[in-house]
């Protein structure tokens, strides 16, 4: 670290790190989108509507936790879609069958998510399978498990507890946003204040360098995938709370946005750079954009195209690699 970076306040733009600049740009972009929203439809920026948009953003945000952690190590997690779906159908299914008390079911399902992450990690570390392939295969396997377990029709509803976490209010504040804030703080602290967090960044920056500095790379990676699986499991449960019940394919719509929000939030897809604060901005940007396009009554075709163009624009703005020539 240079002395300049140790000075806490009033840093000039040019002295900031790439990540800090990206995150500031992302939040600025989010604010611009909110302003555009107000232009498009009056009342868009009313406190109530902003809260609603934040609540909707939180779901991509939850899914983005696991993806952020994995991308920071230089990996990628494609098993997110059906891991969420699996936790959703197992949660509603097990609760409906009264095998165990609801809170026990919730713990078991969340640990199941961690177990899936553990298997991902084992495949990547001990069998040397590229993360993309390992998690792609895992997604397929989980899809099979979901189909076989539900026999095509998931049963049961979201438990009241989960429903409250997503839909409840304390005064004017949605409980969901408090949950998001708590999870964000947990992830933030883990990434920047714990030894594990520092190791995670180190591995993402250089596997060889980490190994030579005495970091157990394998254990760090397996730990990362386990924690990511755990958070994705929680995301699946919360999403079920939002819908009220579980259904097949409910995680599909979140797979690619989960990657997009991490990258829009300034993280590097090759690892080592990024944090969850950026992912939050990414989640808000994607959600506000989708909301505006919906209000404008755009056909799905135009929405898809704009969605892609915005991701490309964000990438061109701050996702570029250094010149190799």
């Amino acid at each position: 670290m240079t002395p300049v970076e140790n000075r806490p306040r009033h840093r000039k733009w040019s002295q900031m790190s790439t990540l800090q600049r990206s995150i500031i740009m992302a939040y600025a972009f989010a604010i611009v989108l909110f302003l555009v929203g107000e232009l498009v439809s009056e009342g868009f920026d009313s406190p109530n509507h902003i809260l609603t948009i934040l609540v909707i953003s939180s779901f991509v945000g939850y899914v983005g936790i696991g993806q952020t952690l994995v991308i920071l190590t230089g990996g990628i997690d494609l098993s997110i879609a059906y891991l969420m779906n699996a936790t959703a159908v197992f949660m509603t299914g097990l609760v409906a069958s009264h095998i165990a008390p609801t809170d026990v079911v919730l713990i078991i399902v969340a640990l199941g998510g961690a177990l899936v992450g553990f298997v991902n990690g084992i495949g990547i570390v001990f069998f040397n399978i590229p993360p993309l392939v390992m998690t792609l295969g895992m997604n397929s396997v989980l899809e099979g498990i979901v189909l076989v377990y539900t026999n095509g029709t998931p049963t049961g509803n979201a438990p009241i507890m989960i429903h409250y976490l997503v839909d409840g209010h304390i005064g004017p504040i949605p409980v969901d946003l408090l949950v998001w804030a708590v999870l964000a703080i947990v992830v933030g602290v883990m990434l920047s204040l714990t030894v594990f967090g520092r190791r995670l960044y180190a591995v993402g920056n250089s596997v060889t360098g980490s190994y030579l500095s005495g970091i157990n790379v394998g254990r760090t990676l397996i730990g990362t995938y386990m924690i990511a699986g755990f958070f994705t499991g929680i995301a699946g449960m919360l999403l079920t709370g939002f819908a009220g019940y579980s259904y097949l394919g409910m995680g599909d719509a979140y797979l690619l946005p989960s990657i997009a929000v991490v990258v829009i939030g300034g993280a590097s897809i090759v690892g080592g750079r990024g944090n969850y604060v950026g992912t939050i901005a990414g989640a808000i940007i994607i959600t506000v954009l989708t909301t505006i396009l919906t209000i404008l009554n755009m056909p799905i075709a135009a929405r898809d195209i704009l969605y892609g163009v915005v991701i490309l624009a964000a990438l061109l703005l701050y996702g570029r690699a250094r010149s190799s020539q």
Binding site: L136, V207, P299, S323
Partner: protein, 323 residues
Amino acid sequence: MVNSRHSTSWTLGKDIPTLLSFMVLAILLAVNAAVDSHFFTGFSLLTFFTDAIPLVLVAIGQFAVILTGGIDLSVGSTVSIANTFVAMYMVQKLGSMVEVSLLMILLGIVAGMVNGIVIHYGRIQPILVTLATMSIYEGVALLILPSPGGSVPTSLTSALTGALMDIPIAVIIMAFLVVLWFWARRTRFVLHLVSIGSDESAARMNGVRVGVIKIAAYGLSGFFAALSGLYLAAQTTSGDPNIGAPLTLLSIAAVVIGGVRLSGGRGSLLGVMAGALILSILGSIMYFAGVSSYYQDLFQGLILLVAVAISSYRRLRNRYMQT
């Protein structure tokens, strides 16, 4: 590149990952023959190969990109563009069929080259660029045809999915692709693809025009995706803006099962074709064995993981456990 002579080899004895994919395919064919006694009769084989062709074609395009160390997540959407384009504009006239086919192929190549240009000149990771264009191209397909429908000339269907003197057209296409590979694998272009995947900066220093070759690789991917969309249109006799979506991840799986290294620089088209056939045959086996189709994804995933685990595990010098 450890040994350039074998990097695109078809002498299977030395190419263990490709050999492995052929062994898996042979076992699955035997299983299929066991559960379906009519498998080696004309109709079953015709159906099997005809059903497999779309994935084979997309996987070949994906293979060209993965050889360079890239990845193309937009292939599925490009398939949809071609598919809807054909269903929307092709009519039962020879002139129209040729014209629309050529335009469609051009569209596919342009879509692919746009990926390559943004990746190369924008200096953005391939997975991110093609993630964005996947969404854009999906939108384009929806613009062409908002909901499933349209129609395809019947002569196109019979020309592409029928048989010529009892040999399924699909088999002829595959045989042609194999012959094409035997010629192409020694061409400068394919060697350049491989050299970029092995070590991009070394390739550049040795005078490989990395940008041009990469853009061509993505263009090739779009080309094959367009052909796949055309074949799907002939097969289903209509268009569907979402038809290509599942093919994206399946094509990556087929390439990887075929023993191609995901980081680029090594692989054989024969392995890729075997990988695509392996993924296609699973559905057929389950149908004839009376197993619920719900198990298909499970087995596809397991085969992918086991195949990759076996071929990666041999490399004892593990990235994460260097000794």
